[in-house]
Amino acid sequence: MSAVSASEKVDGFTRKSVRKAQRQQRRSQGSSQFRSQGSLPELCELPRLTDASSTEQQELFTQKLQQCCTLFDDFDSVSDLKSKEIKRAALSELVEYMSSCRGVLVESIYPDIIIMISTNIFRTLPPSENPDFDPEEDEPTLEASWPHIQLVYDFFLRFLENPDFQSSIAKRYIEQKFVLQLLELFDSEDPREREFLKTILHRIYGKFLGLRAFIRKHINNIFLRFIYETDHFNGIAELLEILGSIINGFALPLKAEHKQFLLKVLIPMHTAKGLTLFHAQLAYCVVQFLEKDSTLSEPVIRGLLKFWPKTCSQKEVMFLGEIEEVLDVIEPTQFKKIEEPLFKQIGKCVANPHFQVAERALYFWNNEYILSLIEENIENILPIMFGSLYRISKEHWNPTIVALVYSVLKTMMEMNSILFDELTSSYKAERQREMKKEQEREELWKKLDDLQIKKALGAQSNSHGLQNLHSNTNTNNSNEGDGSVPSPSEAEPKLISTQ
């Protein structure tokens, strides 16, 4: 047999990390933009800008910009080495020139600059090397053309930050289509590129007032597509970071458009699979909104409750963290409006068998402000929470949680001991009532089913189509078994029972 480990033979599909290590993966990615069209003209070195006389400088500047529009196959690391080096040198000289020299930004140079930038950075991003790319675990694929592109981005940034920069001229070239292409690039897998894009987009948002609404609208579209269509976009965190500061600058009262963005885009974003990657930025945006307008806390909390994770404990912990941040800035009147549904959810979290979820929820009682809100409303909150807490104090497997629950119960008992005693004494009766209700419900349904049969019999003569009324149960017992694993112990391998 070949040199394959036994565990691999059994399972066939080994752990992801192992599989990845085995694969000879190319680490960097050629951009899809480059398509070899025969041989490229070789670049020839131009004189240095600093060596040229001031009259020639402008002409040379233009020439260098044009020279830098030549693209190379950066995946092929041996071809055109000389030309690539000339381009790199020219680009770094341009960066230097843009940041140190004054008065170089004359009106006629703007189109050349924008053409150079667009030619280099705007490209269709290549398909991902790794279709099940997990940003938390995997190394990102890096952009092969980075040595050049980095300088282009740097140049772009210095161009925008140049004291002579005039947005009134630039807006003819940096227009909607340009911004749209820039936004598409945020999907780049290379974090270095996204970092540059973030700063650049932020500058553009600051300098081009006419583009602001357009930028917001398209970020909106990217987010909606991410939530409802693709579930994949690499630059969500960066876009949210920009939005955080944009929201900060919103004028009061908030426009309907902005509120809609919060409730119909930001809140549904919590459903994303990769929430971990951008939750901090997302929560920051949400809290920014609430600090602007406290009446939004009710719909925000209701929204979070609607999208509360059902199975992912890690996400639940994040949701609880965000709820705490929201509660930190909530007004007591708003709190009253959501206390009931909110504490029902917190009650479920406290009773969660995953101790991190339970623990995170119980930490709310360490927060002074939340504690004061609870105290003010103890007559409503205690009855909601009591059942879960009481049960957990007896049942939870984790001793830390039990200890925490006891201290929470004690805190609440101190807030209203009369109510606490009442609830303790009625706990059992309450339980029984619930069970009885459950039984009643079952009986009702049974009765209803009987009724249906009676009706169906009666209706047969009326030839009603009833075939599809009986909900068909879907038994999905697909056996994908790998079979049994040989057991070294001979004594008790009784795997199969009566078939």
């Binding site: 059994v10 009765k447 189509g465 049994s484 001979e490």
Partner: protein, 589 residues
């Protein structure tokens, strides 16, 4: 009928309302799933006047509940009183068609499409079409997206004035501000084109198609490629060149690989839609380019279509085109840098041999097959081996056997059990073609090794494989080569291997016949009834039941019966059960 049950008829709605307000989502979900029960209990009239308004007004719930509701309402026509009243279902479905969650919306649209057919033409204009219009001019993108799926179902059955309105609405949505809506419109363009009159296809659809195909977003452009197939099928041949081809050519060279991928993926459909002349002049060079594309994804999609494309080429020039234009590209793909491309090619390349015939196959294709058989990636090799039968038909397997063998041996030990499984399934075919001698020499040991594989599925397949081999090579061969090895495993220290002996006997007894079974197999089975592992013992009972019909009555009475009687008193209940079952089946009880 309704109300006739007196008291009984009052509580269904109360139950439902109570349950729909329950805190537990699962209970709400259950009650929605039984909505038809409730409607039936209520009768058609109360369903219309009470249940539906209640659902329309009070439902704000989890998406999972809404999804169930959207699905239920699509089957509700009879429950509201038949086609005459089907429009009562529109209000709740309309609001479901505007929710954010895509699956809910899609389900609502699906149900709307379903019940649209149950509307009379008048109802369609009075109730359904206004709904489509409202959705199409909704504020939030969700309702406009939903509207896109509804135009084609009502268009054919409304008056020409209303038709003009529908066309106008569709036009508006094709240039909607939101890319999501444009994507929805683009994906329904082909479907809509099919229900339009030809003059409007030419005047309206073509301009929309051209616009969508040059949209700023590649996700919209690629959907236009899909529509291209339907549109090209609708138009007369003479209009294709001027109306469709410029756009298609542009798509095949789009700067976004996603669009090119789509062209490659739809290539066979496009080929059929545009006909032989355009295929010869335009599609052949386009296909060559796709096979040489700079993105592996596109090359892989194109490679997948090689066989189909070649098959559908016009007869008169088929061979010339393949030999001069396609084959050179295929040759390059064999040594592609990307394994998915090679694997895609390997899955179809064998199909070319039937198109090209024996001589061309030996001269041009065989070297390619052999190269792929030696490929470093197991998937590529597996794809070649899985399609051997097509080449076999053309040139016979002897030609391949020399190079085939090393590849098979290697795949037989592949780390992935599914690969091993695929190879096992090819064994009987290979054995039949290579003959006994060759098999004994080269492949027999492999087949036996699989019997002790770590994965049950492989052991099971190996057992089944042995049976097929015995059917091919006969009982004598089995007695000499297989049976001794199989029976030897009965003494293996691992109980799983001992059980494999039993499974093999189950499979082989019939093919081997009474003589071998009685003389060689039966003693081993009987001996194993003393095994210390219960699983082995009850499998002995099962085996005896299985091989019983092959034995003569003497052996049954004198040898099998006592053993089964003993097992029937075993301390393990499963052993008892199977022993008793065997006795009753064999009529020994």
């Amino acid at each position: 009928m309704a109300g006739a049950d007196g008291d009984d008829s009052l509580y269904p709605i109360a139950v439902l309302i109570d349950e729909l307000r329950n805190e537990d989502v699962q209970l709400r979900l259950n009650s929605i799933k039984k909505l038809s029960t409730i409607a039936l209990a209520l009768g058609v009239e109360r369903t219309r006047t009470e249940l539906l308004p209640f659902l329309t007004d009070t439902i704000y719930d989890e998406d999972e509940v809404l999804l169930a509701l959207a699905e239920q309402l699509g089957n509700f026509t009879m429950l509201v009183g038949g086609p005459e009243y089907v429009h009562c279902l529109l209000p709740p479905l309309e609001s479901l068609a505007t929710v954010e969650e895509t699956v809910v919306r899609d389900k609502a649209v699906e149900s709307l499409r379903k019940i649209s057919h149950e509307h009379s033409p008048v109802d369609l204009e009075v109730h359904f079409e206004p709904l489509v219009k409202r959705l199409a001019s909704g504020d939030w993108f969700t309702s406009r997206t939903s509207a896109c799926g509804l135009f084609s179902v009502c268009y054919p059955r409304v008056s020409s004035t209303v038709k003009a309105e529908i066309r106008q609405h569709f036009r508006t949505l094709c240039s909607d501000d939101t890319p999501m809506v444009r994507r929805a419109a683009a994906s329904k363009l082909g479907e809509f084109a099919k229900v339009l009159e030809l003059e409007y296809v030419k005047s309206d659809i073509i301009s929309l198609f051209t616009a969508l195909a040059s949209d700023e977003q590649d996700s919209v452009r690629l959907l236009a490629v899909e529509a291209c197939v339907s549109i090209a099928t609708l138009l007369p041949q003479e209009d294709l060149e001027s109306l469709v081809m410029p756009t298609l050519r542009q798509a095949a060279e789009d700067k976004s690989w996603r669009v090119r991928y789509m062209v490659a993926d739809k290539f066979s459909e496009l080929q059929k839609a545009v006909g032989p002349e355009i295929t010869k002049n335009d599609l052949v060079p386009a296909f060559q380019n796709l096979l040489k594309d700079c993105e592996a994804e596109v090359r892989a999609a194109a490679a997948n279509k090689v066989k189909e494309f070649c098959e559908n080429l016009p007869e008169d020039s088929k061979e010339t085109i393949i030999m001069t234009h396609i084959l050179p590209c295929v040759k390059e793909l064999v040594s592609d840098t990307n394994q998915h491309v090679k694997s895609a090619l390997a899955s179809v390349i064998m199909g070319l041999s039937t198109i090209l015939g024996k001589d061309n196959t030996i001269e041009h294709l065989l070297p390619l097959f052999l190269a792929q058989l030696k490929d470093e990636c197991p998937e590529v090799r597996l794809n070649i081996i899985s399609n051997l039968d097509c080449v076999n038909e053309v040139i016979g397997i002897r030609q391949l056997s020399q190079s085939l063998l090393p590849a098979i041996v290697e795949l037989a030990e592949d780390a992935k059990w599914r690969v091993r499984l695929a190879i096992i399934e090819y064994m009987p075919l290979l054995a039949g073609q290579l003959g006994v001698e060759f098999f004994d020499e080269k492949l027999n040991s492999l087949c036996m090794a699989w019997l002790v594989d770590h994965v049950y599925a492989i052991r099971e397949a190996a057992t089944c494989n042995l049976m097929k081999l015995v059917e091919k090579f006969g009982a004598e061969w089995a007695q000499n080569t297989i049976v001794p090895k199989v029976l030897g495993m009965a003494n293996d220290p691992n109980y799983l291997h001992r059980m494999t002996t039993l499974f093999c006997i189950n499979a082989l007894s019939e093919a081997c016949g009474q003589d071998i079974t009685t003389k060689h197999m039966l003693p081993v089975v009987l001996k194993m009834s003393n095994d210390q592992v219960a699983n082995v013992r009850f499998n002995v009972a099962k085996s005896l039941q299985k091989i019983g019909p092959v034995l003569d009555s003497n052996a049954l009475q004198t040898e099998v019966k006592p053993v089964l009687e003993k097992l029937a008193t075993d301390q393990d209940m499963d052993v008892k059960y199977f022993a008793q079952e065997a006795m009753s089946v064999l009529a020994l009880a």
